[in-house]
Amino acid sequence: MKKGGPVVGIELNRRRFLSVTASVAGLTATGGLLSACGGGTPQKTGANSDALKAALPNYVPSTTLKPDIPSIAGGPNVLTDPGFLTYPSDRVATVSGVPGKGGKYTTVTPLWGTIPPADNSFYQAMNKALGVTLDMKPADGNNYATIIPTMTAAKRLPDWIQLPTWWNSNFNVGELAGSQLADLTPFLSGDNIKKYPNLAAIPTGAWQAGAWGDKIYGVPSFSSGFVVAGATFFRRDVLEAKGITADQVKSADDLMNLGKELTDAKAGVWAFDDVWTYMFPAWNVPLKWKVDNGKLIHKYDMPELLDALEWHYTLATSGYLHPDALAGNNADGNVRFYSGKVLIGGGGTGAWNAADHQSGSAANPNFRRGAFNFFTADGKGEPQIYMGPSTSIMSYLNSNLKSEQIEELLAVANYLAAPYGSVEYTLVNYGVEGVHHTMVNGVPTATDEGKKNVQAQTFPFLASPPAVISNPGSDVVTKDYTAWQAANVKHLQKPVFWNMNISLPRAMATADAAQAVEDAIKDCYHGKKKVSEVKEAITTWKSSGGGDKLVQWMDENVLQKYGTGQ
């Protein structure tokens, strides 16, 4: 899948949504974004067991297209996304004939944006090409987490549904797996997947993220070998004009000094927007768990977390952080960044795309987004950046479907997962040429009909190929982003319980969400609470908030039984 146009649009929307919820609905960004440990009852905690290894599909990479900027491997399951500078003109067909056999199915996917009209010309063209009738029912992404539980409670799931993994615990996917969601293991394990070559080109890690209790349930979309919480972005055009380059920032102190240099409150310019979510790994704080000499440690128990908070508290009280960020207004972060009112800000890497470049350039023709390379807080040693799960977009089939129906839908998924630039990919992402898009300077450009009906968050949310970086018309973005990935891939590491689905009992899930501590942390990096008060919140969480019990439960039920998953 293309990490440029539509895909990044989704990423952007999703992260934007998360940041909005962080301020409005209170789901913490870390809780949503980074919960590699999602669902699965204890006995369903699947990862690393021999049974799961046997169940996982074999990986057969696609060789259909040669990218302009090839992937760079940083270790097992770690590699940069390939970059394409132009949209391939030589379209290859990867699926012969029509995958479907005339079946009729309902689908539900989340959509952050305007819902296209039902039974529109794009859906019709897709159904014709797929040979099935998919009754597409995209649902409002902002309410998705409340819509789905009513369906599962009534046992009325559609035939094919997309359940974003950051909501695994909200949806209780671990419970649904096997009861309401179909087991795909018999169809996809090992070499069985070779029947679906485009699905076989999705890396194993992504399949693992959709596995529960040694069985495969999910079909991954937008998988990537380079999944990080985000990056600390900066206005490259503005900083370079001042003679500052990214490699001059090698420690947290360097960054703080930069804050002093760049802030000019009188002119309405502040150096920083919120950076906590993307900066705390610099103190060697894991996303949540760490294993030290065989002992499981929660990040709340790490003194490094308090050091990280201390720095962020200082940042918030120093006057280098934009007042609107301090007021919790994250929704306007991009506007502040584009208009140069803020020069450094954290964000998901999905923000680095053509649409972003166009918006930025509209505000300032010189606009160029850059990201600091990862560094350690003290500037010493190698930074360790823990990867997120290989994908967060996972679709599932209903367990009521018969075997032949499952095979038919997997064949459809294989079509949807056709690689970037292929005939199928072009149809899925841009619609029919001449109707939904026309080629302008070699770039598929949406017509009015296309803008209305072709949504990146419909069919690709059911299945899509692994991510690529491509921003036709904005080469600078593709080059900058791939270069940043290449420079940082060596720092990426698999965290404890990587891609493992862990379904916590309800009481543990509440302890895991640790709302009181997350609230205290947020108040701290906004300068409202001192680090000592966060420490108190952590102490309370450990004793009466179930924190100690959570660590014990995770140790006994996950670490001891399944290992670290690294």
């Binding site: 962080a22 301020s23 409005v24 609905a25 209170g26 789901l27 539980p149 599962t152 409670a153 615990s169 909200n170 209780n172 419970e175 649904l176 409150a265 009188k266 309405g268 502040w270 934009h322 007042p323 609107d324 301090l326 007021a327 919790g328 207004n329 009112k341 309800r506 009481a507 899930a509 509440t510 969400a513 709302q515 009181a516 609230d519 205290a520 947020k522 108040d523 906004h526 409202k528 609470k529 309370t540 009466s544």
Partner: protein
């Protein structure tokens, strides 16, 4: 006895149910949609309160969730964050009662004294307008005006004066919240008081003026007694809703001032219940709030009756 119309009012109740049903059928029919609405959206959801005594799991439903008795309440009453939210709610409610409640009354009196109808309508329209803004919009306007990077502070900065932290100061949050509420809702709240003013017989003013009563005497002896029923009703309702101080307003500004200053009972139930999948805990907090509210409204109504006012209904 035989004729309905000759019956004294007190004895009307003795008519048989059938007769009364037949007599009032059109009126009863007209209330059916409202009653249905109330039943479906207000009474049926009450069964959800059962979850407060369970460890509710939405996947298995209410009937199959585990019953835990009063466990949720025991945890709730031992939760310092809950007590903090309750204290915040009561404090905010009290401050709003003192600072907010009299303003629509005063506005209504002022507006009533404006003689030009065009001017009165104009002022009224302007005062109503903010009511139709969402809280998101209202708070954005406040942020743009008084925020750290807003108009006021940028003006102060550009004139080398020290800035004024209005939007993110937890200590003055109660004043901020109240002034936002006044700006947004005071204009709208005058409607009911204006209606009460309109219902006062103008002859009374004329006769008292003839008797030599000045403006203040007329206000004191005619206008205010004429409004007292409505004022008391609004007060009873306000007291009954003492634990409901708003939701979005706090949700949106929670990050700005920190959760300790901004958490009220409703946001507590949301963040520590719904948002963390701990539905039963949220339900317990909600039930607690409802029970206390019921007691408050009952008490306030009693008080109103004791003062000889109507309260919620005529005794």
């Amino acid at each position: 006895m035989s004729s309905v119309s000759t019956e004294p009012p007190a004895r009307k109740n003795k008519l048989s149910l059938r007769v009364r049903l037949r007599r009032d059928r059109s009126l009863l029919l007209m209330t059916v949609p409202a009653v249905a609405l109330l039943l479906v959206f207000n009474y049926v959801p009450l069964f959800g309160l059962l979850t407060a005594f369970q460890d509710y799991n939405p996947l298995v439903g209410v009937w199959n969730s585990e019953w835990v008795g009063f466990d949720q309440f025991v945890t709730l009453f031992g939760d310092s964050l809950f007590w903090g939210s309750l204290t915040n709610t009561l404090y905010l409610s009290f401050v709003q009662l003192i600072l907010f409640f009299p303003i629509p009354i005063a506005l209504a009196l002022l507006l009533n004294s404006v003689l030009s109808e065009r001017l009165r309508n104009f002022i009224q329209s302007i005062a109503y307008l903010p009511h139709f803004f969402s809280w998101v919009l209202a708070i954005t306007i406040f942020q743009q005006m008084f925020g750290g990077a807003g108009l006021l502070n940028q003006f102060l900065r550009s004139n080398d004066m020290s800035t004024w932290d209005i939007m993110t100061n937890p200590d003055t949050f109660v004043l901020l919240i109240t002034s936002q509420a006044i700006w947004k809702e005071a204009g709208w709240s005058i409607i009911v008081f204006l209606a009460a003013l309109a219902a006062i017989n103008t002859d009374l003013y004329e006769s008292s003026a003839v008797d030599g009563a000045g403006r203040w005497r007329r206000l004191w002896h005619i206008t205010l007694p004429g409004m007292s029923g409505v004022i008391m009703l609004m007060l009873v309702l306000r007291l009954g809703n003492a634990l409901t101080v708003g939701f979005e307003q706090f949700l949106i500004q929670r990050e700005a001032v920190g959760h300790e200053a901004a958490d009220v009972l409703d946001t507590f139930a949301f963040y520590y219940g719904i948002a963390t999948n701990n539905y039963s805990y949220g339900a317990a907090a909600g039930l607690f709030k409802s029970v206390i509210s019921l007691l408050l409204i009952w008490g306030a109504n009693k008080l109103a009756h004791a003062f000889g006012e109507d309260g919620l209904y005529r005794k």
